[in-house]
Amino acid sequence: MDHLDQQALVTLKDVMEDDFALLINTFFQDSENRLKMLNSLIDSDNQDAIRRAAHSFKGSCSNVGAPLLASLCAVLEKKAVANDLDNIKQNIDVIKAEYEIVKALLLDL
């Protein structure tokens, strides 16, 4: 799976026009808030909060054309739905790492 979906990004640029940069910045802000939220939830038993955060993160990732990041969020969401909260730190770390890659790629555009 690709880090970025180039086709989707072309379409998005086309829609957003001058606001594309604003969109990318907004995405960074949203993502960093989500990651902070997820970090704070690592040792909690708050399965529902993890599920919601992962779900919303997944949504915005798919919207900005980051399919791999979206699918990593989906994995975490599924674990939360199944109440399988062991090793979620691992999942969150993977998500963080992938986010950094996506961020770098988006800044390069």
């Binding site: 829609v15 969109l23 907004t26 919601r52 919303s56 919207n63």
Partner: protein
């Protein structure tokens, strides 16, 4: 986009990224955007801004999309506000939850401009269609309310006409239910001047206004004629004739008409097209069906119409039941009809005749249960009773009839100075028409009096020869002569003597007219009928047909006719 008006669209999503994309897409489609970042805010904005459409994220903080969709639909009321859920939820359960909460469709992430554009267009079409339907619904509701209001007024008039009369008599019970505001069934009852009660139960083909309209002329004819003393058969003929003229082919009135004599305990029935009524005899608890032997009213021309009736002798406590086909055709939930067998059964099961009426109603209603009613249900019961147990009018008439041999005489003389200016006939007819049982014979009596008076005046007092009228020339000569003589007349008279008496069954009116003329030799004509003896000009043939007897007395200057009529029937 050009043909589409600009919509106000509410976008609610807590993720700024997603909301930014949606806002941009929607705005580029030419619509106005209002944004909310949680469910509570979405509901508040919906109430303050009244947007045309809502794009709602399912998972949001403070209030989620499901709850806000519910509240938004609640506030929208009848107005159709499409709600599209924005979701990357894909499990069936979540999608069903969106629809249950009032969502109309989904838009999944990642958003596609083309799909969103198509959905906004299609939901806007539905929204506009719904708005049109709502306007039309309100219009229909308004029209319906007005129609009902008009019908209520008309029903008031109709009820006054169709259900008045003496239905409140002590020996009558009736039940009329209707499908529409108007009842296709009609029940009329009135007292004849002789104390008999006339009842008419009618069932027009159809229901509602078309059926009720036919009832108006029937009711007005009925209530117009019965109190004047016309017989049941006269009224039947008149109603049939009227309906035949005014109703379209295929619409008619099945009817049963009764004439009940409470003094003599007699029942006369005419049934045209209604289901057989039941005559219940108290003595042996038997029931005798009173079947239809005629076509309904309004079918046959007056020439073909048959008015022969059936007569029954009753005893006090005997009961007659009439019904329209609504009872027979009442259906239960399975669609079976109540039918005559079940009616007979109700009578068989009954132990207290006082309760028969209620038994029939409760059995039919229990049979129908909750199923839809097909037809108007009408039931009428009348009990044979003494006049004082019927109503005040029946009682008063019966007291008068006790000494029913009533007699009076009237003498009237027209003097010479009056002949040319005064016509005594209207006064005499007015006096005679004061007798209710004679009212139906108004026309006959007028003819008789007119013939007699004209003969007395023209042939007797003025001495004109009726033979003159045989040729056209003679006819005008006759009237010329009549005018001359009437101007000059200075002596002579016409005396009119009317003697009235009633016996129990018949009435008898003897009219004797004497003139001052020389008379004529009627003796010579004995052996031959007066009508064939050359005096046809004197209208005798006509009178012989109408009267019991016509004769001349003395020197032929006195004519006497006896008119007999049924005083009580």
């Amino acid at each position: 986009m050009n043909d589409q008006r600009q919509l106000k669209i509410l976008v609610a999503d807590d993720t700024d990224t997603d909301r930014l994309i949606l806002e941009t897409i929607v705005r580029k489609e030419g619509h106005t955007v209002i944004s909310a970042s949680d469910g509570r805010q979405a509901v508040d904005l919906f109430i303050s801004e009244s947007p045309d459409m809502v794009l709602l994220d399912a998972l949001m903080p403070i209030m989620d999309g499901f709850e806000s969709a519910r509240l938004i639909k609640l506030h929208a009321g009848d107005k159709f506000i499409p709600i599209l859920f924005l979701t990357s939820l894909t499990d069936n359960e979540s999608l069903v939850k969106c629809l249950d909460a009032g969502g109309d469709d989904f838009l999944s992430k990642p958003y596609s401009r083309i799909v969103l554009q198509a959905k906004i267009k299609s939901f806007n079409r539905m929204r506009e269609m719904n708005a049109t339907v709502m306007v039309q619904r309100d219009e229909i509701a308004k029209n319906n309310a007005r129609l009902l209001q008009e019908q209520m007024v008309a029903k008031h008039v109709f009820d006054n006409v169709a259900h008045s009369g003496c239905l409140n008599s002590k020996n009558i019970r009736y039940f009329l239910s209707s499908l529409a505001v108007f009842n296709g069934d009609m029940l009329l009852a009135a007292m004849r001047p002789n104390g008999n009660m006339i009842v008419l139960l009618g069932d027009f083909t159809g229901h509602g206004l078309p059926a009720a309209i036919g009832a108006m002329p029937v009711a007005s004819t009925f209530y117009g004629m019965i109190p004047k003393g016309f017989s049941m058969t006269d009224v039947l003929k008149e109603i049939n004739n009227k309906l035949k003229h005014i109703l379209p082919v295929g619409i008619f009135c099945c009817a049963t008409m009764l004439d009940i004599n409470f003094r003599k305990k007699k029942l006369t029935v005419w049934n045209g097209g209604l289901p057989a009524g039941f005559l219940y005899r108290l003595a042996d608890h038997s029931i005798h069906p009173i079947k239809s032997t005629h076509l309904p009213l309004g079918v046959l021309s007056s020439r073909a119409f048959k008015d022969n009736c059936e007569e029954y002798d009753l005893a006090n406590g005997d009961r007659l039941y009439l019904w329209s086909d609504g009872i027979h055709e009442a259906r239960n939930i399975q669609g079976d009809m109540f039918g005559e067998a079940k009616l007979i059964d109700v009578f068989a099961q009954n132990t207290d005749p006082e309760k028969l009426f209620d038994d029939i109603i409760s059995n039919v209603q229990a049979f129908i249960g909750d199923s839809e009613k097909d037809d108007d249900i009408s039931l009428f019961e009348i009990r044979m009773a003494d006049p004082q147990d019927v109503n005040e009018y029946a009682y008063e008439t019966s007291v008068k009839k006790e000494g029913s041999a009533i007699a009076w005489d009237l003498s009237f003389e027209v003097k010479p100075s009056s002949f040319k200016v005064f016509d005594p006939l209207p006064i005499l007819i007015n006096v005679i028409m004061e007798i209710p049982s004679l009212r139906p014979y108004n026309a006959s009596l007028y003819t008789i009096l007119a013939e007699l008076y004209t003969n007395a005046l023209e042939h007797g007092v003025l001495g004109l020869d009726s033979a003159m009228k045989k040729s056209p020339d003679g006819f005008s000569e006759y009237y010329e002569l009549r005018n001359q003589r009437i101007q000059m007349i200075s002596e002579g008279f016409v005396k009119i003597h009317i003697s009235y008496c009633t016996e129990d069954i018949n009435g008898r009116l003897v009219i004797r007219i004497e003139d001052s003329g020389p008379g004529f030799d009627y003796q010579k004509k004995l052996g031959a009928s007066l009508s064939t003896s050359g005096y046809s000009g004197r209208g005798i043939a006509l009178m012989e047909r109408m009267c019991e007897s016509v004769r001349y007395i003395g020197k032929g200057n006195i004519a006497e006719v006896v008119f007999v009529w049924a005083n009580d029937d």
